[in-house]
């Protein structure tokens, strides 16, 4: 992996403006595609930016019963963590994070923080709807974290063994190995893990059919019910940035290939984001309704968990 050329470094400053803008653009893209699929015109691509500007100009109200400091710190913590996590993601052919920042395990922890801030936010907002949102968010995290862990373990073991070690948790190494030996998306032993990942990311992003913690007709946005103004805007930013992390993780794990030219590599990288958003978010959420929390929990226990486990066992068995 090469040093980043200066012009890119300015825009791409990992985890910074780039991730926020990309996240919001993906959100705009998703809303537009979903609208077209429903025979609507849909909002302009820049609508998420307009929404954010509007929120930034409003006041953040804090419920009387809510602990003020915690209530207002949570969105900040969530957004900054998500932005930090982006810095750990390599972009094939463009950017390799310094090893000092951390590896896949650190990324896993960082990825859990936004969900935890949402839970705390629901609980701190002192609203019964927030409390229900809290319990649902927790159930969702329990449901999808297991499969995610095993997906990551399967890839880490696969690449680690191929390189002669036991396991590697360095995303940079995983990406570099794929640059040399072809993408893991072509590896049959990892196909179940890929499927599990495809089920995981709409759940992590809180999209239909897994938007259960924030289901508007049921719990009125759940944890976000009492948030307004810039604080709500930060949560919007957090979810946009989280999308960049979660999709970026999938790209890095399964298909990070890119040409040597950084400009083309970046364009291809962005295209991958767009495709993942269109197929995994927009199409899925327009093609079905919301699950109930017990149904979603059972779905993850029955489907993705076993798929990810199967991949892990296949990898261990075949190469052990």
């Amino acid at each position: 992996m090469t040093e980043m050329p200066l012009p890119f470094a300015a825009v791409l400053f990992p985890g910074g403006v780039f991730a926020l803008v990309l996240g919001l653009c993906l959100k705009g893209l998703d809303r537009r595609i979903a609208a077209r699929l429903q025979r609507r015109v849909g909002p302009p691509l820049a609508q998420p930016f307009f929404d954010l500007i509007k929120l930034a100009r409003k006041d953040s109200l804090v419920p009387k019963a809510a602990p003020r400091l915690l209530f207002l710190t949570l969105p900040l913590a969530g957004t900054s963590t998500a932005a930090l996590a982006v810095a750990l993601l390599p972009i094939g052919g463009v950017y390799a994070p310094p090893a000092a920042l951390g590896d896949l395990l650190v990324l896993l922890y960082l990825l859990a923080v936004p969900a935890i801030t949402l839970m705390l936010a629901g609980s701190a907002s002192a609203s019964p709807f927030g409390a229900i949102g809290f319990s649902r968010e927790m159930a969702m995290v329990l449901a999808y974290e297991g499969p995610l862990l095993m997906v990551i373990a399967a890839v880490a073991v696969f690449v680690g063994r191929a390189e002669g070690q036991t396991v590697t948790f360095s995303l940079t190494e995983i990406v570099a190995w794929q640059q040399a030996h072809g993408p893991l998306i072509g590896e049959p032993a990892l196909w179940p893990a890929l499927l599990a990942y495809l089920a995981f990311y709409p759940a992590n992003l809180g999209m239909v059919p897994f938007d259960i913690p924030e289901a508007e007709p049921e719990v009125l946005d759940g944890p976000l019910l009492e948030y307004s103004g810039p604080a709500l805007g930060l949560f919007e930013l957090m979810s946009a940035t989280k999308a960049v992390v979660v999709l970026g993780l999938g790209i890095a794990l399964f298909c990070p290939l890119a040409p040597a030219d950084p400009a083309t590599a970046l364009v291809i990288h962005l295209l991958k984001y767009a495709v993942l958003t269109a197929l995994g978010v927009s199409v899925v959420r327009t093609a079905m309704g919301r699950m109930r929390i017990d149904q979603a929990f059972r779905f993850f226990l029955k489907g993705p968990l076993w798929l990810a486990l199967a991949s892990l066992l296949l990898v261990l068995g075949r190469m052990g």
Partner: protein, 365 residues
């Protein structure tokens, strides 16, 4: 620890809530995600319309009753006119009766499709919501073309109707009905087979036959619990005595069954409209001259989209009614919510409330 000695959380659903189209307050006691008790508080949409009706003359009340609520806005003036005509002893001419059925069925199709669309929205299936609403839009266009309005048709007058269908209008309506029929067949298939609709609506909000009888529920809620009661068939009024009205009923007693009954009734309504168009009697549109309304009283009933609507009217020979009172279907149906909601999951509350299609502005007027 059993469920009973755990502290219950109170979930304030309403008076303003996204899942409710109108203001109503459900004080719901929840144990985790399960409903332990429901307390319904109504009265947020009370406008004193019954009192107002005694302060206006008989003709003005036609306009007033049409504005009691939007989705059954044709059923109210229709039933009111039927009461007046009974007191005056002046039944409308056959053509007017057939045209009244046309107006009523058009409103019924739009109302049922609206309710079924909202169900998809509550399930989180936005595409299906859009699809059903687009089909409903055809009926909205029909209303605008034939009556000049998208919600309040202004179709009825004392002794007849205020609109006519010429050959061109009838042909237009026929074409639009064909379009709706194709769409509705697809939509029905979707609701019958789609997994995400099925998994969220089947087996929830159960209202067993016995409870349905005891609570006296009416309309699609009753028919989805195995009670084949439809005023149009049981006590035909106006043109319905000359039309074929099959009664749709199902045995599943759940939210899904109520949606399916409504979708099947849309097909029945389309069929009734086609019968009307095929056999539209010739003649005048209203009794002329208008009869004097003597002192007297009358009770009339009709099948509104939500069920049996009853009007009581007492006149004293003056231009104002002495008393005008009505009982709307939602009044009977929302009492059934307590049975349906008991033991339900919090996630299912919106679907269950929507399945009785409560019309609060009718009920509280």
């Amino acid at each position: 620890m059993t469920a009973t000695d755990r502290p219950l959380t109170t979930l304030p659903l309403g008076p303003l809530h996204v899942a409710l189209e109108e203001p109503m307050y459900f004080r719901i006691q929840v144990d985790g995600e399960t409903v332990a008790g429901v307390e319904v508080t109504a009265g947020h949409a009370h406008r004193g319309i019954e009192y107002l009706a005694t302060k206006r003359n008989l003709h003005q009340n036609l306009v007033l009753t049409e504005r009691v609520c939007s989705l059954c806005s044709n059923s109210h003036p229709l039933t009111y006119c039927m009461a007046l005509e009974r007191i005056a002893g002046a039944p409308p001419p056959p053509r007017a009766e057939a045209l009244r059925a046309v107006a009523d069925e058009i409103k019924r199709i739009a109302s049922h499709l609206f309710n079924v669309a909202i169900l998809a929205h509550l399930v989180g299936f936005e595409s299906l919501f859009m699809h059903v609403m687009q089909t409903r839009e055809i009926m909205q266009d029909v209303k605008e073309t034939i009556f000049g309005n998208r919600m309040d048709l202004g179709a009825n007058c004392i002794g007849g109707v205020r609109f006519d269908l010429d050959a061109e209008g009838a042909a237009y309506l026929g074409v639009q009905l064909d379009r709706v029929a194709v769409d509705v067949a697809q939509i029905r298939e979707l609701y019958a087979s789609d997994r995400s609709i099925g998994s969220r609506t089947r087996g929830i909000g159960i209202l067993p036959y016995g409870d349905a009888v005891a609570l006296g529920v009416v309309g699609p809620v009753a028919r989805a619990s195995g009670i084949p009661f439809d005023v149009r068939a049981k006590a035909p009024y106006g043109a319905y005595s000359r039309l074929e009205v099959p009664v749709v009923s199902r045995e599943e007693c759940d939210v899904w069954a109520r949606a399916m009954v409504r979708l099947d009734e849309v097909r029945v309504s389309i069929d009734i409209l086609r019968q009307c168009l095929a056999r539209l009697p010739q003649g005048s549109l209203a009794v002329s001259p208008l009869p004097l309304v003597p002192a007297g009283e009358a009770v009339t009933r009709s099948e509104a989209p939500r069920g049996e609507l009853i009007y009581y009217l007492r006149t004293d020979g003056s231009e104002r009614p002495e008393r005008l009172k009505w009982r709307v279907p939602s009044y009977m149906n929302w009492a059934a919510l307590e049975v349906m909601l008991k033991g339900a999951a919090v996630a299912d509350i919106p679907m269950i409330v929507n399945s009785v299609d409560p019309c609060l502005s009718c009920t509280e007027r």
